[in-house]
Symmetry: C2
Subunit: 732 residues, 2 copies
């Protein structure tokens, strides 16, 4: 293993060095006029102020949770948790730093040519993509090397720890599995805070700026007279850049560690009465005989993905084409996927890993690309659904909103079908580990996805700076073209994030179920029902697990959590926006010189209000995510908790796709009308579409992405705390 | 059994006779002015035209499906199916007949006093309530008596039928279970058509009338100049009366037959290797030894519920109080629940049924009342949530709609918690049959619920007729008061419908799982895996069923169906409304004399357009509901189908509660603003709230109620066709 692990270690260092060099290449570009420097300064300082305040809240939370893990388990678990959370925070900061460097520089480059602007924006995105993947992998490699003792066959067994020295509070677990799970949990928790806090920030600023600026004062988007315009641009960075980076980092980590946990349990399972029959099913994978190979496999395969992404990024960066850049970006993504398949093939073919793993990985890759395409189909105005939605807006805002909702609901069909089919395929290839490998495959070229995705908000910001600095219109036209390419790639990225979240969660839930069963084999605390009873409960002669009342109750309650979570997020946005609206109105009223352009609006006040809203409203949803699986598990036990997680997953997938596509389509329907269809700007259809877009904003940029993290975080928390839960409800 | 069955037979006849006498008492009332007679005539003929056209579509569908059942199984199955569907249609017609008799007469009575008006409206509602319960029960009793051979212990066994004489296509089932399931399926299918067709009709007319009348022409609701006003009033009858009646009839039937099917399988299960262990778990119920008692129990218990409802209806009808009628209605509902508990207690105490069944029934009753209360809390402007929503409308339509959505999502919390808790409680009392008994308990006093629920649309119509006939304002004030009481009771009724749907579906799914397992015990067609393999698949040592890929895929695909179904319904409404809007605009434009009141609008044209929309757009959603479980079952087998049904149930419960409460709260927030809060009528908040109300309309009156039926229909279809499906996916 020690030799094999050199590959991921070397490649993650390479990715980080490339990120550093891309960052330098961005910083060396010219920043443009003083006005542009000033605006960039505002955005940077606003974004950093928020991220630092957020980091402070997270820091305290992480310290406390880490301490609890230390007390409950061992110090290694706490350290792994801290490493995961620090790296996740770092990814957000590095990406946001690059993005806020790149925005004004992209505007300046757009003064020269479109290709120059694209190069700067894409380099900024690449910093983020490579950092996310590099940090996630190097962190995992370091944690596994430091604590290599707990992954070595010699010490690998199910151990029992007596909590607070009380024998009846003994819990069973594999220490290595707990270490990687805690690492993943740290990354996920930070991602949730980033996504929820950033999501509320960005959409509250966006909604309020539009509601007062566009609707009441009739000034265009990004007009410097609007007091919330800087807050809106800050939001793009903390939400769409910082949030996205942390989000995909934790998906990536989750997918990798679910494979590792299963490999550990398979190894320990030899001779384990409960796991042995499962192992027999894994014969096609050939997993049992090659522990070390399989332990290193996920790390090596994703290292291949990172390397492939790096090559694809270089292909895009140094492409000489001046036109058709959308095609170049799409080709780059396809190239990354293809090269990843290639490196995986080589690894699987020449090692004992075997082809079933390769097929699983390819299945994941293909499913991810398909889901990405469906998102584009439903939300891009190049296709029928969004055009029809634009047309229906002629009948007023109520019809526009209902039709948008219907479109979102309908758009669950193809992605869910794809996820279900890929799940079945991967399961046939290698049981539950097959599903985990597929999830990992889907995420393996995450560096490329993030790079392409982050470039969108940079272009968006560049356009804002162009308008605010009153540059010639052709600059704004070029950044708008950049932004529109970014929108398509962002839609694909969003579909990808949802698909991978579903898969990664399935992998994590599967790992949870295995560890829940596997660790039950040892001595159990006396108050728990004996293992022998499981058979009676599970066999078809007893009630199959699905129909047991506790599992049913778990499914129902789990399915309810995403709804409550989403409701809190939407309220967080609309109520923060409400406060901000009052403030913008106040500024316009008390200082008429703002509208004439004689005096500057008070941007800082708006930034403070939005940041305050984001920080305050992110806590309750985060708490619900962390607390509910633990409380439910403690009361109802491991099997019912499996139901709870599955219920949450089901509900969250549908809601996330619905929210992302309804919001995306409403946004693009508005843009399509603005292009001159159905009456164009300021027509009745446009007024209706603006309302629709505002309704869709929190759905697509706050709720949808946060749901992706919700399900993974709940699953990984269950995985970490599994051993503390009884098998059956405590009151039985 | 023959003696015991006299009780339900006698009580259902009593209910039908009472319904007849209530109907006569309504018809004998005076109809009012010629204008009122004319309007009533329009509404009646519009409603009947639609219902008859709908019945024609349903008739053909039922004939075809019945023929398929005949070919696949036996003629008895087809007959039971037809009886169920005819009675369900009859319930819709009888109720609508009474309602369209009662509307103008309520208006006329309101000219005298409030109490008189309430008496007429409530009598009209009682006709519907008693007919629904009476028809459902008498039909079931008749079917069970005609085919009593297949319920007698002597012939009760799992039989095998070779489809088309081909041995490898042999299917196993209990004929009695299939007969009652087919009866229930007939009732459910009609209910789905009624709910979907009526729901699209009523909301398309409502939306279009509001969008042109209120928003564009600034004429009030129910203004006779509006060409769509009659269509709107027709919609109240076909959607809220006809649809509701058929809906609760099928819930009622579903809950009863799920108990019956389980009793049959328990009896047959003696000596059955697969069911035997389950039977042991039922020891607390004492079910095994008392087959006949338990077979009759559901019929006798619901007969007690009908009798109790009749007494409560008489209490309300002959209450001498002039004021505080809301309290009288609420007391009546409570009285019905209490008396039902009483009759159930007597039956359980003095027979071998035992107290666990009583406790289950009471648990169901209590849960139903609690869920009803939660609906009221979230949607009534007497409480904080709706008042806050009204306040948020001040920030414009986008915030109003998003806040309404958030409220709906948040409102899933308490009802789902209640359903989960009641499921656990009932399961502890008597395993899965306990859950089925609880569902039945919740629905046992359905006659009362329907009576109270139907009275709302009658009062609504009466108000419309008052305005259209230009009666003195105090008449409209009285009918408005009547309507406002009706709104509260309707909110409770809607919560009740959702709660009971969830429970009835659980009962049906449980019955499906039992029959899927129970009938697998006999000789299986050779192409199917042998039963012995189930153990390996289900035991915790193999992957527990929940984690099997096919069950997971089933859960995911099942959870997706309600979204696609809802999307089609919303589109059906908005697109029909769109066509109608064009027509109303055309009439106003081409004939200016309509606005001056010199000429009548062309009501018929609007009615035809709406009916056309309702009929055309109901087919695809209905098809999806019928086809998907069959196709899924045929491909993926019984176990995965269990996952599919559970997935659909989970998704549908959350969506239905969300839609019903979001729509209800948006409606009442608008009314609250109209009462003079936050600027009152025509303020900015009001304009925003009108948009919110229009968005909420299809959610609360089309999607929510139809989802209730979707899950029950899919479950009962699975139950009927279970024996045709393989155990495992066909391609394994």
């Amino acid at each position: 293993m020690t030799i094999l692990i050199l590959i991921p270690a070397a490649i993650s260092v390479l990715a980080l060095l490339s990120a550093y060099s891309f960052n330098r290449s961005v910083v060396r570009k010219a920043q443009g006029t003083d006005r542009m420097k000033e605006l960039q300064g505002y955005i940077r300082s606003g974004a950093f102020t928020f991220m630092i305040a957020e980091a402070r809240v997270m820091g305290i939370t992480m310290l406390i949770i880490g301490a609890i893990l230390w007390i409950l388990f061992y110090w290694e678990i706490a350290v792994a948790f801290w490493v995961g959370s620090i790296l996740s925070m770092a990814a957000g900061f590095i990406g946001m730093n690059a993005a806020t460097h790149a925005n004004a520089r992209t505007t300046h480059a757009a003064g020269k040519s479109f290709k120059d602007a694209l190069n700067v924006a894409f380099s900024g995105g690449s910093v983020m993509g490579l950092s996310v993947a590099g940090l996630a992998l190097i962190g995992l490699v370091i944690v596994m090397l430091i604590f290599r003792k707990w992954f070595s066959p010699a010490t690998l067994h199910i151990e029992t720890r007596y909590l607070f020295g009380v024998q009846s509070l003994g819990v069973n677990f594999i220490r290595g599995a707990l270490i990687v799970s805690a690492y993943s949990m740290g990354a996920s928790l930070v991602a949730l805070f980033d996504r929820v806090g950033g999501g509320i920030y960005t959409k509250a600023a966006d909604m309020a700026a539009d509601m007062v600026g566009k609707v009441e004062m009739h000034i265009p988007e990004d007009d410097p007279r609007n007091p919330a315009t800087i807050a809106d641009n800050v939001g793009d960075n903390v939400g769409d850049v910082g949030g996205l980076g942390a989000d995909l980092l934790e998906s990536f980590v989750g997918a990798i560690i679910s494979v590792i946990v299963m490999v550990l349990y398979v190894y320990v399972g030899r001779g384990n009465a409960l796991l042995e029959p499962l192992l027999r099913k894994l014969a096609p994978l050939g997993l049992e005989g090659h522990y070390t190979w399989f332990l290193a496999a996920p790390l090596v395969i994703v290292a291949g993905g990172i390397f492939s992404s790096l090559l694809a990024i270089l292909y895009i960066r140094f492409s000489r084409r001046q036109e058709g850049m959308q095609a170049v970006l799409m080709n780059g993504t396809r190239l990354a996927a293809l090269l990843t398949a290639g490196t995986t093939f080589v690894f699987c073919w020449f090692t004992p890993i075997g082809m079933n793993v390769f097929y699983s990985v390819v299945l994941g890759l293909a499913a991810g690309i398909a889901i990405g395409f469906f998102s584009e189909y439903y939300t891009s105005s190049n296709y029928k659904p969004t055009r029809e939605l634009a047309k229906m807006n002629q009948s007023g805002p109520a019809v526009g909103v209902t039709e948008g909702m219907a479109l979102g609901m309908l758009s669950t069909f193809l992605p869910v079908l794809t996820i279900a089919a890929a799940t079945i395929g991967a399961y046939q290839l290698g049981n539950l580990p097959g599903v985990a490998f597929a999830a990992m495959g889907m995420l393996s070229f995450v560096a490329m996805t993030v790079a392409v995705d982050t470039y969108g908000p940079i272009a968006d910001n560049a356009g804002g700076i162009a308008t605010m600095s009153e540059l010639p219109p052709e600059v704004r036209e070029r950044t708008d073209k950049l932004d529109s390419i970014g929108n398509t790639t962002a839609a694909i990225g969003k579909g990808f994030a949802i698909g991978s979240a579903a898969f990664a969660s399935l992998g994590l839930i599967a790992a949870f179920m295995w560890s829940a069963i596997g660790s039950a084999d040892k001595v159990l605390p006396p108050q728990l029902p004996i293992v022998g009873q499981i058979s009676a409960e599970f066999s078809p002669s007893g009630s199959p697990i699905m129909m047991g009342a506790f599992v049913i109750a778990g499914l129902m309650l789990g399915a309810m959590v995403p709804y409550v979570f989403s409701a809190l997020l939407i309220r967080g946005v609309s109520r923060t926006a409400d406060v901000l609206v009052q403030e913008i109105r106040r500024q316009f009223k008390e200082n008429p010189k703002i509208m004439t352009g004689e005096e500057m609006a008070d941007y800082k006040k708006c930034i403070t209000i939005t940041a305050h809203g984001g920080l305050n409203k992110m806590f309750l949803p985060a708490l619900i995510t962390v607390i509910t699986p633990i409380v439910f598990g403690l009361i109802f036990g491991r099997y019912a908790l499996g139901g709870f997680l599955i219920g949450a997953l089901l509900s969250a997938i549908q809601l996330a796709i619905y929210c992302a596509n309804a919001g995306g389509a409403m946004d693009n329907a508005k843009k399509y009308i603005e292009e001159g269809h159905y009456g164009g700007k300021d027509s009745e259809a446009h007024v209706a579409a603006v309302t629709g877009d505002t309704v869709g904003d929190p759905l697509k940029d706050t709720v949808g992405p946060s749901l992706d993290i919700l399900i993974k975080l709940m699953s990984v928390i269950a995985l970490v705390f599994a051993s503390l839960f009884p098998l059956y409800p405590v009151f039985l």
